[in-house]
């Protein structure tokens, strides 16, 4: 058990800002933690809470959701809708005992390659500190055997 725990993190990002920001981080040769798998979507308004649940269901230890800063949305207000949704969704997760610390949200513009790299590093570090999402993984394991009533 000498190897440090490497968290698996899924990032849902919007194509116009955060994905472009990630691209910039890449073309600027910035190094950041390799723990994040990016899923590109047209807009944060497209991101359903089901995506987040699906990521956890498939064994992610953390989820990152990121899009354009308020006012910058390519579709003018997709991110405002998303913001409301997340506010409600976070409090729901909190109430049901899924640590909101595992689901992170951020605004990253196409010009913020540096912020993207820093954020990935800090999020990875945070999730690593929380450790694997064992409680949820136990439930996932359970699904390998037939359900009992």
């Amino acid at each position: 058990m000498s190897e440090p725990f490497e968290p698996k993190i899924i990032a849902f990002v919007c194509t116009y800002c955060t994905y472009a920001g990630a691209d910039l981080a890449g073309t600027s040769r910035l190094k950041y933690a390799p723990n994040v798998r990016i899923v590109r979507l047209p807009c944060t308004g497209r991101i359903s809470p089901m995506f987040i649940l699906k990521a956890l269901q498939k064994g992610a230890d953390g989820v990152l959701v990121s899009g354009c800063h308020p006012g910058d949305c390519h579709f003018t207000h997709g991110n405002y809708h998303a913001r409301r949704r997340w506010m409600v969704f976070r409090s729901l997760l909190d109430f049901l005992g899924i640590s909101p610390e595992r689901v992170k949200f951020s605004w990253i513009s196409a010009a913020e390659g540096g912020k993207f790299a820093d954020l990935i590093n800090s999020v990875t570090e945070d999730i690593r500190k929380l450790g694997p999402f064992d409680q949820y993984k136990e439930l996932i394991k359970e699904t390998e055997t037939p359900a009992t009533l």
Binding site: P49, M50, L53, K54, Q57, P70, G71, H77, Y80, H81, R83, R84, R85, W86, M87, V88, F89, R90, S91, L92, L93, D94, F95, L96, G97, I98, S99, P100, K104, F105, S106, W107, L119, Q135, Y136, L139, I140, E142, T143, P146, A147, L149
Partner: protein, 276 residues
């Protein structure tokens, strides 16, 4: 009793002059303190109508039965204040036209039943506004208090225990007046978001999704909670969502038929503290 007689007479009156094609009310149920829905189309059926403090179910959901309102005839319905709020939400979501709905409003305190003034959904706006003004009751429920005191891990363990009993019968969905989607997310298998088996994992996800879809729409009628065959305290989850939208967006579900659905609208100044 007086209210019951008054409403029976009114129902007959409306049926007699063809103002309504049907009235949805309550009748005697399988035990003395249970009431079941009654669909009144004739005078004889009107005599079966019962109205007392045991009439607790929210009947609003029957109005969105496919085809019921499509002939543009009017339908009467017995509703408590929260049922009237349901009607407002359904109207705001373009599921029905309130002009087609004749409301027999009633409320109970203890064993007493009192009639509410008005017959159209708009007539009750004063009443609903006064409900909003009342501070949301700090629940004296011991269990809810206990959940609030728990840390994240204890909460997870608590809900895991509750949801492990869920058998995915979807009675909560069927009983809910707000769950009218023709194709529910759990009925679709392309993509399949939630496993169909009743493993705790999928039960967790189902209950998260259900609560989320009801955020800002649930009026707390308690239909889901009463329908649950394994007694999962669903009311707490819905109440927490209602509290969240009330505190964050000053949204009280069902105040009017023109109210914007809270998660389909936004305010540029919505303030949060968690986005990095």
């Amino acid at each position: 009793m007086i209210t019951q007689e008054k409403y029976r007479t009114r129902v007959k009156e409306l049926l007699a002059n063809n103002s309504v094609k049907m009235v949805i009310g309550y009748k005697q149920g399988s035990t003395a303190d249970r009431r079941r829905p009654l669909f009144v189309r004739s005078f004889e059926e009107a005599d079966e109508l019962v109205l007392d403090s045991n009439c607790i179910g929210n009947l609003a959901g029957y109005l969105v039965t496919e085809g019921l309102l499509s002939d543009e005839k009017r339908v009467g319905i017995f509703l408590r204040p929260e049922g009237i709020r349901s009607i407002n939400i359904l109207a705001a979501e373009s599921q029905l036209n309130t002009e087609q709905i004749i409301i027999f409003g009633f409320d109970t305190s203890g064993r007493e039943v009192k009639a509410l003034q008005g017959e159209q959904a708009g007539d009750f706006s004063g009443l609903i506004d006064s409900l909003k003004e009342k501070p949301p009751e700090k629940s004296s429920d011991a269990l809810l208090y206990r959940i609030d005191q728990m840390n994240t891990e204890e909460r997870f363990a608590f809900w895991k225990d509750e949801f492990s009993r869920c058998i995915k019968c979807y009675a909560c969905r069927q009983a809910c007046p707000m769950c009218y989607c023709r194709r529910c997310i759990v009925d679709s298998n392309q993509p399949q978001w939630i496993n169909t088996s009743s493993h705790t994992l999928g039960n967790f996800e189902w209950n998260i999704v259900r609560a989320f879809h009801l955020a800002g729409r649930c009026v707390g009628c308690g239909n889901c909670d009463r329908a649950c065959p394994v007694n999962i305290p669903l009311r707490f989850i819905n109440a927490r969502m209602a509290q969240e939208v009330f505190e964050s967006f000053d949204h009280y579900a069902g105040t009017s038929q023109t109210q914007e659905p809270v998660l389909a609208s936004f305010n540029k100044d919505d303030s949060e503290t968690f986005i990095l």
